[in-house]
Structure formats: structure tokens, C-alpha cells
């Protein structure tokens, strides 16, 4: 199976270990076999091991090591934030974060809502069964 996501300048990646866990960063240069120079709008440009990065499908159009202003402009032009939040991977992460931040009261309300939804579904199924039986 061929690779689809390549390490290249402009590849957007998700940090999966360390201080910046969970943040999206852009690869702006490759240092050596194991490390990349990485940058994000709210972070100082720094090096990261490739093992700490999970590549995404998103790529932006930049030259090698752009200035911060250029980087931010390129990210806006490619609409990285919206693309990420609408992708299935991005949506899953958002849901995970929301579930983890639920309050005890929120969890209770969620339970009530699930029960209500389950009840409504079962009612519909019962109706359909009756229809198909008759």
C-alpha cells in the first residue's frame, strides 16, 4: 500500500507527545533523519522528533522556514482551522475533549437524554414492526 501523507514542508501535523500534546503544527524544515523544524501561530519555532508528530491530510503552501507573519497568512489562506475541525479526525478529537470536560451534572443530563432517545427509537421500531406485521 503506497504512502499518502508525506513529510514535506507545509505538512500540518498533530503533536502526540510532550508539552504541546494535541496541538496542530506545521513542518517548516527537515533537520535530519529524525527531526523536523516545526512552527505554529502560538508557539516558538522549535525542533521535534518525527515520532512525536502524527501527519494529517492538510498541507499548506509555504517556502522553507517562512517568517511567522507569512506562516500565519498561509494558514489562513489554506483555511487549516476549519478543514481540521470539519475532518472526521478533528471532529473526533473535539468530541473526546468535550466528553472529558463534562461535569457530574452534565453526565447526569446526558444519561437522561440517552434514555429519552432510546425510548423514542424503540417506539418507532415498535410502530414499524406493527405495520410490517399487519
Amino acid at each position: 500500500m503506497p504512502f499518502k501523507r508525506y513529510v514535506e514542508i507545509g505538512r500540518v501535523a498533530l503533536v502526540n507527545y510532550g508539552k504541546d500534546y494535541g496541538n496542530l503544527v506545521v513542518i517548516v524544515d527537515v533537520i535530519d533523519q529524525t527531526r523536523a523544524l516545526v512552527d505554529a501561530p502560538d508557539m516558538v519555532r522549535s525542533q521535534m522528533n518525527f515520532k512525536r508528530l502524527s501527519l494529517t491530510d492538510i498541507k499548506i503552501d509555504i517556502k522553507r522556514v517562512p517568517k511567522k507573519k507569512t506562516l500565519i497568512a498561509a494558514m489562513e489562506a489554506a483555511d487549516v482551522k476549519n478543514k481540521w475541525e470539519n475532518s472526521s479526525w478533528g471532529r473526533k478529537l473535539i468530541v473526546q475533549k468535550r466528553r472529558a470536560s463534562l461535569n457530574d451534572f452534565d453526565r447526569f443530563k446526558l444519561m437522561l437524554a440517552k434514555i429519552k432517545r432510546g425510548g423514542a427509537i424503540r417506539q418507532e421500531i415498535a410502530k414499524l414492526k406493527k405495520q410490517s406485521a399487519s
Binding site: L102, D104, F105, F108, K109, L112
Partner: protein, 233 residues
């Protein structure tokens, strides 16, 4: 003579360097006006002798001397401070009780008593927990708050919750069994009224929030997959 507003005393001898003042001893004598005080008092410094003591009544020698010398314990004047209340617990917070008869019940926090224990109520109509004292250590504070502004809790203190001691009555054997039955205390009507008085405004404000009443009526429990150290309360 005593001035009303005492300004902080400033030294008349400024420091050149720490430990060395600007003026010599003789200069300071002149500056402070000690010569004027002496002159006022006829060449000597004024003396303030202590007043003669009032005559003490004659002490009788004690009747009894203990056989062994008993060591007296040192006096301890330490007054422990009121138990520090966790920052997450404020009046109106919903707490989860973790131990005792009401374990798992979600309950409304009212006030910290002078003994350090937390005064808490169900409300009784909602989950059966009466006005009760609970220790802070056996409680999880959630971030849900109920509106407690209408509730009057001034009359409740530790004495209200203490055990009532009755005076000892001399009982004959025949009366013994009857008296035991009497001792089964039914809850005095006064306490029931207090409970209702506290709960009425509280229940009204709770019903204002959707689902809060059913939330308080339900018990808390851990389910599969719930990790307490990762849960946000």
C-alpha cells in the same frame, strides 16, 4: 498628654552607613533635649519609683503535702484554627457524600460550622437527607451550585446537633422496661419545622433549574470505564 494619632517614631540620628550615625553622643544629648529635662527637674533625671505594694493577706501553711513529687505538664495555650474549607466548596455547592448512611447521595452545602464540619441538607423532600453535619474529608465537591440566598441558617450550630443528655432518674426494677420505651426519642416537631423552613426556599430555587431535582434525587455511582482521577466533578 497622650497624642491621639501616634506617628511612627523617626530617629533623630540619620544613618550614614548601617551601624554608624551622623551625630556623636554629645550631639545627640543636646538634640534630644536631655539638658532641658534635667534643668526642669533640678539637675537630675526624673525618677519614677514603683508604688508600694498592697499588704497581702497572711497565707496559712497547707494541710497536706503529697508524698511524691508529681511533674506538672507544661501549659499549652494553642488554639487550633478552623478547618480550612476547600476552595471548591462554597455555599450552595452540590456535594457527593462518600461514606455513612447516605453514601452516594448528592446534597446541598449550606455553611461551615464552628467545629469545622459542614452543614448540609438533602433537601429532605428530594432525597431524604435531613439537616446534617458532614466532614469535609468524606465529600466530593461538584462544580454545580444551587441558589442558597433565600435560606436562613443562622440558628444552626454544633449544639443544635449534639446529643441531648437527660438528667439521671432513679429507677426501680419494675419501671425499668417502661422507661426504656420512653427513651426512644421521636424526632421533636421543632426539628421537623426547622427542616421545612430551610428546605422550602431551597426547593423553589432548585426547581428553577431543569433536571436539578432529579439529579439530587439520584445517587452517584461509578460505572464501567469511569476513572475517578480523570473525571471532572
Amino acid at each position: 498628654m497622650a497624642p491621639k494619632d501616634k506617628k511612627p517614631r523617626v530617629s533623630r540620628n540619620p544613618d550614614l552607613i548601617r551601624g554608624i550615625g551622623k551625630c556623636s553622643r554629645s550631639k545627640m544629648y543636646h538634640k534630644r533635649g536631655l539638658w532641658a529635662i534635667k534643668a526642669k527637674n533640678g539637675g537630675v533625671f526624673p525618677r519614677h519609683d514603683s508604688k508600694p505594694e498592697a499588704a497581702k493577706p497572711a497565707e496559712k501553711p497547707p494541710k497536706f503535702y503529697p508524698a511524691d513529687d508529681v511533674k506538672k505538664p507544661l501549659i499549652n495555650k494553642r488554639k487550633p484554627k478552623l478547618t480550612k474549607l476547600r476552595a471548591s466548596i462554597t455555599p450552595g455547592t452540590v456535594l457527593i457524600i462518600l461514606a455513612g448512611r447516605f453514601k452516594g447521595k448528592r446534597v446541598v452545602f449550606l455553611h461551615q460550622l464552628s467545629s469545622g464540619l459542614l452543614l448540609v441538607t438533602g433537601p429532605f423532600k428530594i432525597n431524604g437527607v435531613p439537616l446534617r453535619r458532614v466532614n469535609q474529608s468524606y465529600v466530593i465537591a461538584t462544580s454545580t451550585k444551587a441558589d442558597i440566598s433565600e435560606v436562613n441558617i443562622e440558628k444552626f450550630d454544633d449544639k443544635y446537633f449534639g446529643k441531648k443528655t437527660e438528667k439521671k432518674k432513679k429507677k426501680g426494677e419494675g419501671e425499668f422496661f417502661e422507661a426504656e420505651k420512653e427513651d426512644e426519642k421521636a424526632l421533636p416537631q421543632e426539628k421537623k419545622d426547622d427542616q421545612k423552613a430551610v428546605d422550602a426556599p431551597l426547593i423553589k430555587s432548585i426547581e428553577g433549574v431543569p433536571d436539578l431535582k432529579t439529579y439530587l434525587a439520584a445517587r452517584f455511582s461509578l460505572r464501567s470505564g469511569m476513572k475517578p482521577h480523570e473525571l471532572v466533578f
